[in-house]
């Protein structure tokens, strides 16, 4: 591949981390890739669109970073083990994995239903994460080290009228990550759940109704990088959402049933 970055050897004086980002071609995934590429990190970037990935890798490598592209559809669950092994060998190890792949396909109204969309969201947002994070958890558990980051959503904190499938997929992911955390913390593995609110990405277009407190994905990437360094467990970005969601989570059902958001 002509776009290959210069080999980056890990030595005591030039230590590097090896990271994998799934869902890296756009939005938050791409912002994370750019942020982490500047932190002495070798990156493997996975996404469906080869063209977008290649462009991103070129951009990172031109700035002296190290990123390799692996086009892949996260719904190809059976291909994960072979691809993961190849990635780990190409990177020369694996220190962290970020699952940032996610789609939001609203049913188009609070009285509409769309099983096909719901199924796709669960397949990408939840089952894809499980397909990738299962072998990763096995590896990190064996090594007694590693970091797993999952990008959930404030939408997973409460089932609302607008998009039941999306809520479900993100709630499932949050619960899955919590279970992984409870399993793996005792093995020296760090699991971080990220719950972004509205971000200025493609996905914002899918949002229903008002979109308060929109942040740039670069700001979220910055927050996530800090949380990884401090080994936080669950973060909201922007952090304001922690308090908003606290209130929403504690809103009694007899009120919540009457709300239209």
């Amino acid at each position: 591949m002509s776009d290959s970055p210069k080999p980056a050897h890990r030595t005591p004086l030039t230590p590097r981390r090896c990271g994998l980002i799934i869902g890296a071609s756009g939005g938050l995934g791409a912002a994370l890739a750019k942020k982490l590429a500047g932190q002495e990190t070798s990156l493997a970037l996975v996404a469906r669109s080869k063209d977008k990935l290649d462009a991103l890798c070129r951009q990172i490598n031109a700035k002296g970073g190290y990123a390799l592209a692996y086009p892949h559809d996260v719904c190809d669950y059976d291909k994960v083990p072979d691809l993961l092994r190849k990635i780990v060998a190409d990177l020369g190890g694996l220190d962290f994995v970020i699952y940032a792949a996610g789609i939001n396909l609203p049913p188009g109204g609070i009285d509409r239903y769309n099983f096909e969309n719901d199924r796709l969201m669960v397949e990408v947002n939840l089952i894809g994460a499980m397909a990738w994070l299962t072998p990763v958890a096995e590896m990190f558990q064996a090594a007694g080290a590693g970091q797993i980051v999952g990008i959930g959503s404030v939408a997973g904190d409460r089932g609302r009228v607008g998009n039941p499938g999306y809520n479900t997929s993100k709630a499932g992911l949050a619960t899955y990550l919590e279970a992984l955390r409870n399993r793996l913390t005792r093995r020296g593995v760090h699991v971080l759940t990220v719950k972004p609110g509205f971000m200025n990405t493609e996905m914002l277009k899918a949002a229903q109704g008002a979109t308060p407190f929109v942040i740039e994905p670069e700001k979220a990437a910055e927050d996530i990088f800090k949380a990884m360094t401090k080994r936080k467990q669950v973060i909201y970005t922007a952090s304001l959402w922690r308090w908003i969601m606290l209130a929403i989570q504690h809103t009694p059902s007899f009120i919540f049933r009457r709300l239209t958001f």
């Binding site: 090896c18 020369g92 190890g93 694996l94 096995e138």
Partner: protein
């Protein structure tokens, strides 16, 4: 010879992920995550190669992981743990010939042969190394100027090549492989057994002359002048001394006792006599010592320690010491390398011709002081050349310098070592692949020469056409140079 299909199938169903392990170098300054697979017999080695080929991975053999650098690390790939192949297969106390598996350590070996009146001809500063690693790096001891590297005492070895072939090599048979695999960093094949000739001893003691040297010239002149009348010679160099005292230190020159010189030979050759004490001054458990060393391991503390050590060295004297005590200085304080703290330590060892050594090392020591990154420990030795393909030896001296690594000094130290490389290359020097962790492909090419690299790569192509044997070190230095 190819793998047994049943066992191979068992390996296929093995969960590779469960073997994922974070491994370190000796100095705790480098970690690498690899799939660690244990070998307990030759069949396991064949299988590891088959597995690697099927999965598109590479393999490197690892013993006890005592190398200072990335020689036994293989990030994201397979590390074949050889410590399970640790049998001493034949030992003949009459001739002193021993045949071992590759995972036998120097400790296993000397403890077996010493009570019968023999000692390994060449040992490293620690007894924890495996023979496979010793051959792969072609180690030397304090007697390099007299007996050469360990490879010169190997009469035969067997190895498994990635092609599946089993080879037997000696200086007569498959000589090209013999001289390339010893010192070949495990990149041509995996050693399975080796036959070595031990050296006769007539006492469990070594007679050591210790004297101080006032500066670098005095240090090197002493090594040169006194090597011929001793079996072993080694210098401690105060890396923090400056000005007229630059390069000051102490020489220890040892001599094996001749028959009859030790009246208590029966006693001193017993294993109990050779044991390193567990306690310091009979009270302090040495296993805890590294915690107390840590507060002194900074630029200021080390100057104090080195100065105090030099003061005590001023008294020149002669004494007798056990073989284990004399040779295995690195084992004297258990886990001493942990006292260097979170960033760990690295060693920079350069080998220089006797004509150019003094000036080059003076320049390097001064540079390390000026940059504020002094070495914390310096050790000098006397060397002679040998005929191994990737040899590090010269007719001259070596200086090994330990450096503490921290988040704050990585960049400065990196620049310093690049300048060191330049100075050493200009002075016609060489490097040792078991030690330096920062040697670049360009530096290796400069001191080995294109011819040697081409020859090595040709053998690599012959023994390992699919490039199944790779390590982090191989990728750092050899992969992208040569044909």
């Amino acid at each position: 010879m190819s793998g047994n299909p049943e066992a191979s199938k068992a390996r296929t169903s093995m969960n590779l992920y469960e073997t994922f392990t974070q491994l370190e170098n000796f100095g705790h300054s480098l970690t690498s995550s690899c799939y660690r697979i244990r070998a307990t017999n030759t069949e396991d080695i064949h299988e590891a190669f088959q597995l690697a080929k099927r999965l598109g991975l590479t393999v490197t053999a690892r013993g006890t992981g005592i190398s200072y650098n990335d020689a036994s690390l293989n990030g994201g790939n397979i590390v074949l743990d050889m410590t399970g192949m640790d049998r001493i297969l034949d030992w003949d106390p009459a001739s002193g010939v021993v045949r071992c598996e590759a995972g036998v350590t120097l400790e296993d070996l000397w403890k077996r042969v010493e009570p019968d009146g023999w000692w390994p001809p060449v040992v490293s500063g620690t007894m924890k190394t495996t023979l496979g690693g010793c051959l792969g790096a072609n180690i030397h001891g304090k007697n390099n100027f007299r007996v050469g590297t360990i490879g010169e005492h190997v009469t035969e070895f067997t190895a498994i090549l990635p092609t599946g072939a089993r080879v037997t090599c000696s200086p007569q048979k498959n000589a090209d492989l013999f001289y390339a695999m010893i010192g070949g960093l495990g990149m041509l094949g995996v050693f399975t057994t080796m036959t070595l000739q031990m050296k006769r001893i007539y006492s469990g003691l070594i007679e050591v002359d210790a004297w101080h040297v006032k500066n670098l010239k005095h240090q090197l002149d002493s090594l040169l002048e006194h090597a011929p009348d001793h079996d072993y010679i080694v210098g401690w160099l105060d890396t923090t001394a400056r000005g007229r005292s630059l390069g000051r230190g102490q020489i220890h020159a040892g001599r094996n006792l001749r028959e009859g010189e030790d009246a208590q030979a029966q006693e001193t050759m017993k294993l109990t006599y050779q044991h390193l004490p567990d306690r310091l001054f009979g009270v302090m458990p040495k296993a805890l010592l590294h915690y107390f060393m840590n507060p002194f391991l900074n630029n200021f503390g080390v100057r104090l320690i080195n100065a105090a050590k030099y003061m005590t060295a001023l008294r020149d004297h002669t004494f007798r010491q056990s073989h284990a005590g004399f040779h295995f200085l690195l084992d004297y304080v258990p886990d001493w390398e942990r006292s260097f703290g979170r960033g760990g330590l690295i060693q920079y060892q350069s080998f220089l011709p006797k004509e150019t050594a003094e000036n080059a090392w003076r320049e390097m020591l001064v540079l390390s002081h000026r940059r504020g990154t002094p070495s914390y420990l310096g050790v000098t030795k006397r060397h002679r050349p040998d005929k191994f393909l990737l040899t590090h030896a010269v007719d001259g001296f070596s200086l090994a310098m330990d450096f503490k690594v921290s988040d704050g000094n990585r960049a400065t130290l990196g620049t310093l070592l690049k300048d060191f490389d330049r100075i050493v290359l200009e002075a016609g020097g060489r490097f040792y692949f078991a030690k330096n962790s920062e040697t670049s492909a360009e530096t290796a090419r400069a001191f080995l020469g294109e011819g040697v690299i081409a020859k090595f790569k040709k053998l690599k192509q012959r023994c390992d056409p699919n490039n199944l044997l790779e390590s982090d070190l191989y990728r750092r230095i050899f992969k992208d140079i040569g044909p």
